[in-house]
Symmetry: C2
Amino acid sequence: MARVVVDVMLKPEILDPQGQAVANALPRLGVSDVASVRIGRRVEIEFEGEADVERAREIADKLLANPVIEDYQVKIEEQAS
Amino acid sequence: MARVVVDVMLKPEILDPQGQAVANALPRLGVSDVASVRIGRRVEIEFEGEADVERAREIADKLLANPVIEDYQVKIEEQAS
């Protein structure tokens, strides 16, 4: 088993209301040194056998990310277990 | 500016219908070697000045993760830009 992780984030120029809501709540927790919070998706794809980055990229293109508003990064994750 | 990333995932024993839906769609794309797909949240916290992992952990506990059903991991991210 091998795990490939796809991180899908809104493009920097796209407004992220969910992250903004968290950022706005921080002063009430006494946190004042945070400049911004952005929230995206982390997708863990578990392959039977070898990790297949090209395949994961294809899955991200077709199913996971909206290329108009989102960027994604694909990486192989070393597994402890 | 320093970035701390909080990855929030459902605990392994909790059903993930969103990931399941993606996994179920894969055979239609001709992908048959994926054992499972899990979808969680990736939160990027941008600190003014130093990255503060302890602070990020506190934010995760109070705002980002539901400890009943979710686990999270906090890490400092090296930034290219």
